[in-house]
Amino acid sequence: MRGLPVWTVAKLACLAVLAAFVAVPLFRLFALSLQGPEGWSLEGYRRFFATPALVDALVNTVALGLATALGALLLGLPLAFAVARLRLPCRGLLALAPLATFVLPDIIVTQSWLMVFGNNGLVTNLLNDRFGIALPGFYGWTGLVFVMVLQHYGYVYLLVLAAFRGVDRSLEEAATVLGSGPGRVWRTVTARLLLPPVATAALIVFTLAVDNFGVPVIVAPRVPVLSVAAYNAFVSEFGGGGTMQATMSVVLVALVALALILQKGLARGRGYQMEAGRAPVRIDLPAPLARLVGGGLAAMVLLSLLPVAVVAIGAFTHSIGPVLHWGRFSLGNFASLASFGAEAMRNSFGLATLASIAGVLFGTVLAWLSIKKRSGLTHLLDYLGLLPLAVSGTVLGIALINTWNGGWVALTGGWVIMAIACFIRRMPYAVNTTASAVYQIRDSIEEASISLGVPPGRSFLKVVLPLLRPAMAGGAVFIWVTTLSELSATIVLYSPGLTTMPIQIYQQIDSGYMGPASAYSLILLLSIFLPLWLATRIFGIRVFATD
């Protein structure tokens, strides 16, 4: 009998966690937005929509979200396809390198882009001085979309990679034999089956773009967007009731929630069982074409890694205070590392590891419940589980403090609340990465295990989890990497002794100290990629199961 105790218990447990750390904090935020001078009122919303600047910001935000999602799909999908399905010369680089794009805090990335393409940027000046070519102004929409797309295509890539590998080969063969050429097979079979994960990836990028604060604030000061307005209102040094800040946050949350509902609608009824285990064969391209495609994609990936290069050079550049003396190299930027570095590194790794384990386990169970054990409750879980996507880190952090400070359990002021924040923020990604894999598991596989005498819970652990392992590994890497670079929630939650590497980096950068910030960033990058690289090389762990 399906869905008996184990799954009911699991559903209730998930519900409890999500209620405590998502529903209640958000509800309090919502309540705050309805707080008028005397009692309840819609004054906040009235003011929001009566302020042209805010309405503009709302429109810009949607436009930015859509543009970024579209651009990220345009870059991320071909890359994922190439890595998953083609035999290319530089596949190793293509597979791992895009991860670096979302490791670095967006502020430092944006600064680096400005150093290259800004008004006074290296390339701008070079083209201008040498060739008299004037690049279009980087400030404003151009730079905004450019940076946002290059900052986010990696998410698309990572989120759809497993799905690309998971399409049942015989379906493509069936379409082929019915007379469809590769293009048509792709369009009518593969793309359709990939639609749910791709829609999810687009949604996630949309939410990230809509919530992003660091890029627009630096590169497009004249383009008002909601995230900047909300963030500024939140960190504004002037108090002022909080209604307006809460209202902006709620509008942002509502925007993303709307996108979420749209995406769910798109993916509705598209839960199909495919048979995993017969992954598509890799396509051999003719050598010149392979070189062309590989080269093109590598160029794109390398371009997106340009900030990494800037950071790497900056780390070794002599600096005095905020001033970098390009061309003079020194190790001075690493000098202060010893005092803070070790602790920050320990905290960062601890948090990331906790968050990725908890996030992946919880996310997998949630995906399994909402796909295979449907009921009214799972519908609720489904939405609650994705809702954290809609909440920016700062808002979530403050909401968590507001909810969990005092009362019968006080969680603030320790690593628990930080871990919870990281876990809640990243868990939706795990839900999404595992969901597409869950669809590929036939119901009868689990039943086979149960019929052999293994109870449902253990069947899940023994039979289902191993099949989800590639997707889970992908999700874990994703959470691990992004938590190592997570800033917006932890910075409002951390207590003495609990700084993380991104917090350190942020503090340097906020003070204008690019040198030490670069040095820290480099350490962060290395400490993320070294373990990953070792895992793939020495232990032969396939991080993305791309083979």
Partner: protein, 302 residues
């Protein structure tokens, strides 16, 4: 003994302070949480039921006034100018910001070096001046308020036609230093860091019409877990040694007027600058009105 310090000052300032504390009171352990001013104050507010912080360092006086409910009065034992102590000792002056023009002379592109605020009203500067958002940043508000005092609404209109407003006030000096803008309206200490760092194209201009001051304060948090340590630390922070050390590291002019800024860093004495007196209380009172005017003129300029 431990004291938890919520600090919005940069790491150079924090490092300098910790060094002084280490010398003056080796038994006092200072744990620092750094963050943006607003974020830290919000956090103190959110934590009011079970405070984590002992001491907050630092924000403009009007801001501190707004968060008075979560602060505890304390009169430091260090002697400070009278205007550097909040009502009932609710806060204690930490430093004084001096508003300046920061100019990147490589980006002048034929424009002459500005001598005063009014020079920036010239259409030739359109799009070349950057300023923080007075709605969020107390220093940016101090600048706009001062300019309003000096030039009235027309002055703000002219300024608004030329400036780019950035959401983050630290972005002002960073982008001037990076050459994104030719000039920025910012605080002396942040611009001086680039001059002292050796970026030769950066110039500080103390405007001929006069500059404005924006004092910043620190305060003990109400219900602080370690009140004794908090008070001890506050006294140390107000002391000559600490104020001098912090100034030397960050060029934040000390609230403690016994520190000789010229001797330490070659900056002009306050007394040698033309200073437009700003009534901080009036500034706080008129905030909504001035901000509304600023909103209007920027909207019109767009």
């Amino acid at each position: 003994e431990t004291a938890v310090l919520y600090a919005s000052n940069n790491s150079a300032a924090v490092d300098a302070l910790l060094k002084v504390v280490g010398d003056a009171a080796p038994d006092l352990e200072v744990e620092v949480v750094r963050g943006a001013t607003g974020a830290l104050l919000k956090r103190i507010e959110a934590e009011a039921a079970a405070p984590e912080a002992d001491l907050f360092w630092s924000a403009g006086f009007p801001t501190l006034a707004a968060y008075g409910a979560v602060l505890a009065p304390y009169h430091t034992r260090v002697e400070l100018p009278a205007d550097m102590v909040g009502p009932d000792g609710l806060w204690t002056g930490a430093n004084v910001h001096v508003m300046v023009l920061m100019v990147n002379d490589r980006r002048l592109d034929g424009r002459s070096m500005p001598a005063g605020w009014a020079d920036l009203f010239d259409p030739a500067w359109k799009g070349q001046v950057v300023i923080g958002d007075p709605a969020n940043s107390s220093s940016a508000y101090a600048q706009i308020y001062g300019l309003y005092q000096l030039f009235g609404r027309e002055g703000l209109e002219k300024l608004a036609r030329n400036v780019v407003v950035t959401g983050s006030s630290s972005n002002v000096y960073k982008s001037v230093a990076a050459g994104e803008f030719a000039a920025g309206i910012t605080m002396e200490y942040s611009a001086e860091a680039y001059v002292a760092g050796g970026q030769s194209e950066i110039r500080l201009v103390y405007p001929a019409e006069g500059t404005f001051l924006s004092p910043e304060g620190m305060a003990v948090v109400k219900g602080a877990p370690h009140p004794q340590a908090a008070q001890r630390l506050l006294d140390i922070m107000a002391s000559d040694a600490a104020q001098a050390a912090i100034f030397a590291a960050t060029w934040r002019r000390p609230a403690n007027d016994r520190v000789d800024v010229t001797a330490i860093a070659g900056l002009p004495r306050l007394a040698d600058l033309t200073v437009i007196a700003v009534d901080q209380d009036a500034a706080a009172r008129d905030r909504d009105q001035v901000l509304a005017i600023w909103q209007e003129v920027t909207a019109a300029a767009r």
